[in-house]
């Protein structure tokens, strides 16, 4: 611990950054991917690559189908399509747990089930559980990462000596340390608000997990009481008496749509289907505004009379705004791309921070014959480059595995996840074995896998970039283009690193008049 306040903050920033850095990178990287979660879903589940432009659709035709699909008296729901999620689905509790049947929203023909967990079911849960569900371990770790990120943001500002003078300063220097620190400082300062808001909102979303005592103390009936009070949920009991048939869901949706000012419904859920006390919940689409507003209507299932309209309190509205701001499920393409760009900037921030730790200690550790730098370098390579490689391997595995593939009883979606985890673990080993050269290897592998993924997508589904674009499947074309751009960037990086390693620095790094000025 240092003596002065700034020194102690420097100590905190250095060591908290080192310990939490890789965890933070995993959370930031998957979070950045989740900005385009539905687009990844389309790419990885080709049967759902439909085109739907957002016009209201009638769902009364699905009532019988839904009643037949749902074998128990548990609630079932119709999830309406959006342009980003162009399939209509019926969700119900089947014999094997929660199940979904997909339909084309325009023809109502069933669509082959989604075989991959893709974005919404793999990357999104990974972002907040790290695929570690035992004792909520992953959730606690990501919470720790969120709080640590806020502490790192604040301590980073305190230890930054010339935050205003260096605001726009990124010096191209032969010394890797100088460039890394400048990159770390500028990406950190310029994106500070975004990182802070994202960490804060992320922690508040899961606050009831981290601070359960508040829920136990303040709400009667603990967790269910908290949900009932916070979201003002209506319910009535099952009577075990057969009731009249289900009324028109479209009429209920129309009533709600009018009250919401023309907003399309996003979810129609039927409770106690067939019972005399059956009722229907209709929720709006969450695409229209920042806040993830639930604002449901409750109707009597038979008559369609309004039983209850939820009113959300101000505190809940704030919480829903923070949730919506973090989840980014709204329909705003500019903002989506801006989020993606800032997410990548955050990844750069974390990598440069770790690399600065390594580079600034390399000589001292070599002189003292310590193993610290080599160990951390391997960890960094596996945790950052390896994460990117694992993601790409996940995409490639998705296109290579045939439909319905199983291996020793492991389903296709699980095989993809195993590929992801295996590549991730292997890249740590690779990092430790090859040390500095591993960066070049991994950049080359990333470039190769990006191109392979795009090629396989074209070969196995026929939706190559041009055709996907002209067919209006912009999610697929966009993902291919991002993969190609990423592959190009990785190839250029590999080439530059290789040249630098051979001692022939590229021309761009010759002495420049910006260099060497007093800082």
């Amino acid at each position: 611990m240092g003596a002065s306040f700034r020194e102690s903050m420097g100590w905190l920033h250095t060591w908290a950054g080192l310990v939490i850095g890789l965890l933070l990178f995993a959370v930031f990287w998957t979070g950045t991917l989740c900005v385009f979660d539905r687009e990844i879903d389309r790419w990885m589940n080709p049967s759902t690559r439909l085109v739907y432009s957002g016009e209201p659709i009638a769902i009364d035709g699905l009532r019988e189908e839904a009643g037949r699909l749902s074998p128990r008296t548990a609630p079932w729901a119709i999830v309406l399509p959006t342009p980003r999620e162009p399939v209509l689905s019926i969700g119900y509790r089947g014999r094997g747990g929660f199940e979904r049947t997909l339909f084309d929203p325009l023809t109502f023909k069933t669509v082959a089930p989604a075989e991959s967990w893709a974005g919404t079911r793999f990357f999104f849960p990974f972002h907040h559980t790290l695929h570690l569900r035992i004792w909520h371990l992953g959730t606690w770790l990501t919470g720790l990462a969120g709080v640590a990120m806020m502490a790192l943001c604040i301590s980073g500002v305190i230890i930054h000596r010339k935050i205003f003078v260096d605001f726009f300063t990124l010096r191209r220097s032969r010394q890797p340390q100088r460039l890394l620190l400048d990159l770390h400082n500028t990406t950190g300062t310029l994106g500070l608000i975004f990182y802070f808001v994202m960490s804060f909102s992320g922690v508040t979303i899961l606050a009831s997990v981290y601070y359960p005592s508040g829920v136990w103390v303040a709400f009667e009936g603990g967790r269910s009481g908290y949900v009932r009070d916070t979201y003002d949920v209506f319910s009535r009991p099952h009577l075990n008496q057969p009731g009249p048939p289900l009324g028109s869901l479209d009429a209920m949706a129309a009533t709600a749509r009018e009250a919401w000012g023309g907003l399309n419904p996003g979810l129609v859920r039927v409770f106690h289907h067939g019972d005399r006390n059956s009722y229907v919940e209709v929720r709006p689409s969450i695409e229209a505004e920042v806040a993830m507003r639930t604002d449901p209507f409750f109707f009597d299932a038979a008559t369609g009379a309004v039983l209850y309209r939820t009113s959300i309190r101000e505190t809940t509205q704030v919480q829903q705004f923070l949730t919506g701001l973090h989840f980014a499920q709204f329909r705003h393409w500019t903002l989506r791309w801006l989020y993606f760009a800032l997410g990548l900037l955050g990844c750069v921030l974390i990598v440069t921070g770790l690399l600065f730790w390594i580079e600034s200690r390399r000589k001292a550790h070599a002189a003292a014959d310590w193993k610290g730098v080599g160990f951390v370098e391997g960890l960094t390579i596996g945790g950052t480059g390896g994460m990117v490689l694992a993601t790409l391997a996940f995409f490639v595995a998705n296109r290579v595995l045939p439909s319905g593939a199983t291996f020793r009883g492991v389903a296709r979606y699980e095989l993809e996840i195993w590929v992801f985890l295996a590549v991730w673990v292997l890249s740590f080993a690779h990092g430790w074995m090859r040390c500095g050269a591993a960066w070049i290897d991994q950049c080359r592998l990333v470039a190769g896998l990006c191109i392979l993924a795009v090629a396989l997508n074209g070969a196995t589904t026929g939706d190559h970039v041009l055709r996907a674009w002209t067919d209006g499947k912009l999610a697929v074309a966009g993902m291919d283009l991002v993969l190609l751009a990423g592959g190009f960037a990785a190839a250029v990086t590999a080439w530059r690193l290789q040249r630098r390693r051979q001692g022939t620095a590229p021309k761009q790094f010759r002495h420049h008049h910006l260099e060497g000025q007093s800082s």
Binding site: T169, I193, E289, L342, H513, L514
Partner: protein, 112 residues
């Protein structure tokens, strides 16, 4: 119209930060060769820079309303400023015309 407005929000954010960067001695030096940015120019550049950022907020709010508008503004601030940093580092001569205009204006102000 929507596309023009978002381009304007980005452009205004970029220009605003470019002005703020020019007002700093370190960056002024690259373009003018003068060691210090004259205080008069620095002050005008700063006022213009902050004003442009606020114009950006106005445009974003006008385009997208309070909720989306504030988020668009907040995120374009980062993108705009980081673009200025990249320009200063890899393509500094792009900003030379801007610096020349500022110098000429300043000289005219001194002469009059």
């Amino acid at each position: 119209m929507q596309a023009v407005l978002i381009a304007a929000v980005l452009a205004v954010s970029y220009l605003g930060f470019a002005f703020l960067a020019l007002s700093q001695d370190r960056h002024w030096l690259h373009f003018s060769g003068e060691r210090h940015c004259p205080p008069r120019i620095a002050r005008s550049l700063r006022i213009a820079g902050y004003a442009l950022l606020i114009v950006g907020l106005g445009l974003a709010l006008f385009r997208d309303g309070a909720g989306f508008g504030s988020l668009v503004w907040g995120t374009t601030l980062t993108v705009g400023s980081f673009a200025v940093v990249c320009t200063l580092t890899w393509r500094p001569y792009w900003l030379r015309p801007l610096a020349l205009v500022c110098q000429r204006l300043a000289r005219r102000a001194v002469e009059s």
